[in-house]
Symmetry: C2
DNA sequence: AACACAAATGCACACGTGTGCAACAACACA
DNA sequence: TGTGTTGTTGCACACGTGTGCATTTGTGTT
C-alpha cells in the first residue's frame, strides 16, 4: 500500500495536518516535531500524492511544452534539439514535463487548453506562431502562465502582456546576405516551405537577406524565391534536380533550414556538382548534422541554449511569483544569431 | 472559473453523481438525461479535472517513459527517434506522456518510482538495461504496469512475469559479420563504449558478429575490440587518429552505433583515406543521418517502428485489463533486425 | 494569583470526481 | 390491491492533502 501522511501521523503520534506542516517546513510546528516527522517520513519512503496536492493547491510541478505540429513529422532537427534542452532545464528545476503536439494547429491549441483545464500543468512553454490571442487569453484566465519560445505569433510581438523569447530573424538573414555578398556573390536564390512564405518569421529573414546582399552589391531576383512543400532533407534533395537552371542564373542559395540544405548538397553531389566549388550553399539553424557531412555546412546559428534556458527561467520566475497575474514586469527578449563559417560557401574571384 | 460537474448538475437540474454517470455512459441513467447532460457539458466546455479523477480512481491517462541517461547528453540519435515514435503512438491512444531521465542510472530508478508513487502515471515504458529487479517489483506492487522496450535488463529475460520487446542483437551482429565476410573481408575490428563492453546487449551482438565472420572465413582478433568513452560522433572521429595501425591490420570495422561510425568516416576523410575504397565501415541502428553523408552508411536496421508500436500496444492492452496483475499472459517479443546495404563497405577481390 | 500572550497542535472542511447503497417511481403480475 | 421487479436518481462517503480557525499548553507580566 501507498504511504500517506495519515500513516506517518499515526506512527508519529500527531495529526495529519501537523505532518503536512512539518513536510512544508512551516514555522507553525516546533523544530523538534518537524525533525522527528521528517525522519519518519523518510524512513517510510513517503512520496506525496500529486493528485491530492494538485487538487487542493493547484500545484503539480509539471510543465506543458507545446511544440509545432511539424516536429512530429520529423521535419525539424532543430526543434528536437531545442526540446532536449528545455527538458534538461526543467529537470534542474524539479519539474516534469508533458510534451503536447497534434496533427494540426487547431488541435494544438485545444491540446494546450485541455492540459491546463485538466489541471495537469502549472505552466506552459509554447513554440507556435499560429496560436490565437483568444487561446492565450483563456490560458491566462485560468491563472496558468505561458511563455512563447522560438516561435511567437505576430500579434504577441505588439502585446506587452505576453512573455516571449526568440531570436532576430532579420539579423540572421542579414548575416547570411552580407556574408555571401562579401564573398563576391551577386545573384542568389532562397528556399523556404510554401506555408512559411507569408509568415513573419520568414519574411523578416528574407528582408534581412536581401538588404544584406544589396548593402554589399549582391541581389536576389523575385523569381529565385523557391518554395518546397516541407523543409525536409528529401525536399532539398529533390530540388537539386533543377540545378541546371539554378547554376546558370545564380551562384549560391540560402535555405530556411539546415536539413533541406544538406539534402540539396547531397542531390548536387550525385549529379557531380561540387559544393562549394561549383555552387555555394548556406543554411539556417546550425543543427548537429551540419558538421557531419562533407562539405561541412556554413549556416546561421540560432542561440538555442539561450532561448531554452531563458524560457525555462522566465517560467520558473513567474511560477514563483504566485498566482497574481502580471505582478512582475513582463519579459520579452530578442536574441542575436551568429554566422557559423564552415565549408559550403566559396569566395568568388 | 473552471467548470465542474456540480455546475453542470445545477444547470441540468440533477445531482452531480448523475452527471458523472452520464459522462461515463453508464447504463444506470436514462438515455434522455444522458443526452441532455452531455449536451450541456459540451456547451459549457467542461473538461474533467484530472487530479480529482486520479485521486479517486487512480487513472491519469498519462504514461511515464523512462529513457537511459545517455539520451540526455545527446549521445544517441537512435533513441531520439524511438522516443518520437512512442510519443506518436501514445498520442493516438489519447495518452499524455512524461519523459523521465536523470544524470545516472540510480536516479533514473528513483525517478520512475517517484512518478508512480506520486500518482502521476498509469503505466511505464522503460528503456533501461540497468534497472534492478527490486525496482520493478516495487512498481508492480503499486499496481502500475511496466513494459521494457529496446533495452532490457539481463535478469528480465529469464523472468516470465516481466513484459518486454526488443530486437535480436546476436542476429544483428551476425548479419554484419556475414556481410563483411561475404565481401571478402578477413580481418575486422569492432568498436563500442567501455561501459557497454560487459553488457549482454553488446556481448551478444559481438558473438553474432564473430560467428557470422567465421562462418564465411573471416575473423576478429581480441586486440581489435576497441573501446571509446562514449559512442558519440566526436569519439568516432577521434578514433580515426589511429587509422594507420587499423588499416595495416584490418580491412573493415563494425561500430556499435551509427553516429560513431559517421564520425569515424569523417575523421578518415580528413586524412585523405577514402571509404569504402581504402577501408570498410558498418554501423548499427540505421539513424536518419546515415543516408545524408557521403558515402552513405551501410548499417543494421533496428525495427524501431515495430518496437515502439508494440511496446505502446502492449501497455495499452495491460491498462485495459484492469488492475488484476498478470491476468493476461505475459508478452515477450524479440524482433529481427535487417541489413541495410548502402555505400560504406567494399567488395574485396 | 490572575491575566495576557505566544507557541504548538488538532478539528473540520475544502478541492472535484467516482461509486456503493438506499430510496423512490413505474410497471407487471398474481 | 398487494407484491415483486426493473429502471432511475440522490445521498453519503472516499480518495490524500492543505489551511483557517479554535483549542490547548506553556511562559511571562503585573
Amino acid at each position: 500500500m501507498k504511504v500517506t501522511i495519515k500513516d506517518i501521523a499515526k506512527r508519529a503520534g500527531v495529526s495529519h495536518p501537523t505532518v503536512s506542516r512539518c513536510l512544508h517546513n512551516s514555522p507553525l510546528v516546533s523544530a523538534e516535531t518537524r525533525q522527528r516527522v521528517q525522519r519518519i517520513a523518510a524512513e517510510m519512503n513517503y512520496v506525496p500524492n500529486q493528485n491530492a496536492r494538485g487538487l487542493c493547491s493547484n500545484r503539480t510541478d509539471t510543465i506543458g511544452v507545446i511544440v509545432p505540429y511539424c516536429q512530429v513529422s520529423e521535419t525539424s532537427l532543430f526543434l528536437d534539439e531545442l526540446l532536449q534542452q528545455i527538458r534538461v532545464m526543467l529537470g534542474k528545476n524539479q519539474k516534469d514535463c508533458i510534451v503536447a503536439y497534434d496533427e494540426n494547429p487547431q488541435h494544438q491549441e485545444s491540446h494546450a487548453l485541455r492540459l491546463v483545464r485538466q489541471g495537469k500543468v502549472d505552466g506552459l512553454l509554447i513554440a507556435s506562431s499560429t496560436m490565437s490571442r483568444e487561446t492565450v487569453t483563456a490560458l491566462e484566465e485560468e491563472g496558468v502562465p505561458a511563455i512563447f519560445y522560438h516561435l511567437v505569433p505576430h500579434w504577441a510581438l505588439e502585446e506587452p502582456s505576453v512573455h516571449w523569447v526568440h531570436h532576430d530573424n532579420y539579423r540572421g538573414g542579414r548575416l547570411a546576405g552580407e556574408y555571401l555578398a562579401s564573398l563576391g556573390h551577386r545573384h542568389l536564390a532562397c528556399v523556404t516551405a510554401a506555408h512559411y512564405a507569408g509568415e513573419r518569421e520568414f519574411t523578416h529573414r528574407l528582408k534581412g537577406f536581401q538588404e544584406g546582399l544589396s548593402s554589399l552589391g549582391g541581389s536576389m531576383a523575385a523569381a529565385h524565391l523557391l518554395l518546397v512543400e516541407e523543409l525536409t532533407w528529401e525536399a532539398g534533395k529533390e530540388l537539386a534536380q533543377e540545378a541546371e537552371k539554378l547554376l546558370e542564373e545564380t551562384s549560391g542559395i540560402f535555405f530556411h533550414a539546415d536539413q533541406a540544405a544538406l539534402g540539396f548538397i547531397k542531390g548536387l553531389q550525385e549529379q557531380g556538382i561540387e559544393v562549394p566549388e561549383d555552387y555555394s550553399v548556406i543554411g539556417y539553424d546550425d543543427v548537429r548534422e551540419g558538421f557531419m557531412t562533407t562539405p561541412e555546412l556554413t549556416t546561421i546559428h540560432q542561440p538555442r541554449e539561450a532561448i531554452s534556458t531563458l524560457a525555462a527561467a522566465m517560467l520558473m520566475e513567474r511560477l514563483k511569483g504566485g498566482t497574481a497575474p502580471l505582478k512582475q514586469p513582463c519579459i520579452q527578449q530578442t536574441l542575436n544569431p551568429t554566422l557559423v563559417i564552415r565549408q559550403s560557401c566559396r569566395q568568388l574571384k
